[in-house]
Symmetry: C2
Subunit: 120 residues, 2 copies
DNA sequence: CGGTATCCTCGGAGATACTG
DNA sequence: CAGTATCTCCGAGGATACCG
């Protein structure tokens, strides 16, 4: 999803938020400042490379800020920007919608509707 | 993004909504009932195969409904379910957030912040 | 520690053709 | 018309190694 097929802002947001990591990273950053290695610990299955790429993408989108400290070893901190913070409740709403959509009984990790397809 | 790495509902929604098409399809369906071929016209660049796959995914998630009519040639209609309709304003909110995030002046099709990375 | 570069693979997604 | 089945290919993303 590198290119856009529409001029729709929706498609543009999704370009940034699509995938497993963006929303998860935003969520971990909600708790406050995190370092690169913190985020790796929070997301044990993300690869080194992907983490940098995803962080860069979010930074470019203005959702997170990157602060580099002088000295050795390197020390970098990531934070949500104010723009990023305003995104959090929207993501929350999606999560709530989902939980309601699949019903309170629904097993996590599994899609909801047993789907009886209607035939007329 | 086939598997989940967390038990977080956020990750589960994103699994369904990630990618270029899901939100766009939901948007076109917002206008009312659409047939398969209508959706292809709306999204000229989506492939036959992808359209069926994406529609199936949304159907499985309970966001859209599929109604098949008897007769020949085949006739199938897609609609948002009530669950899907409740999703629309949330997606709208994301679009609004994005437009505000990148600023009213921002050129579409391009990321926003000129990014001067902070160094301390 | 955080980031970049290189290599390699595996599956997402296009093209095409066929069926009910 | 809507959907499925094959084949194919390209690139997202993992593993590894090296640098400031």
């Amino acid at each position: 999803m590198k290119t856009l097929v529409s001029r729709c802002p929706i498609e543009e947001v999704m370009q940034v938020l699509s995938g497993r990591w963006p929303t998860l990273l935003i969520y971990y950053l909600k708790d406050g400042t995190k370092r690169f290695s913190d985020l790796r610990r929070d997301n044990p299955t993300i690869s080194h490379k992907m983490l940098t790429l995803e962080l860069r993408k979010l930074e470019d989108a203005g959702i997170i800020s990157r602060t580099e400290f002088e000295g050795y070893p390197l020390h970098v901190e990531y934070d949500l920007t104010s723009v990023g913070e305003r995104l959090v409740p929207l993501i929350d709403a999606l999560g709530d919608w989902w939980e309601e959509a699949i019903g309170p009984d629904a097993p996590h990790n599994e899609f909801a509707t047993p789907k009886s397809r209607s035939v007329t």
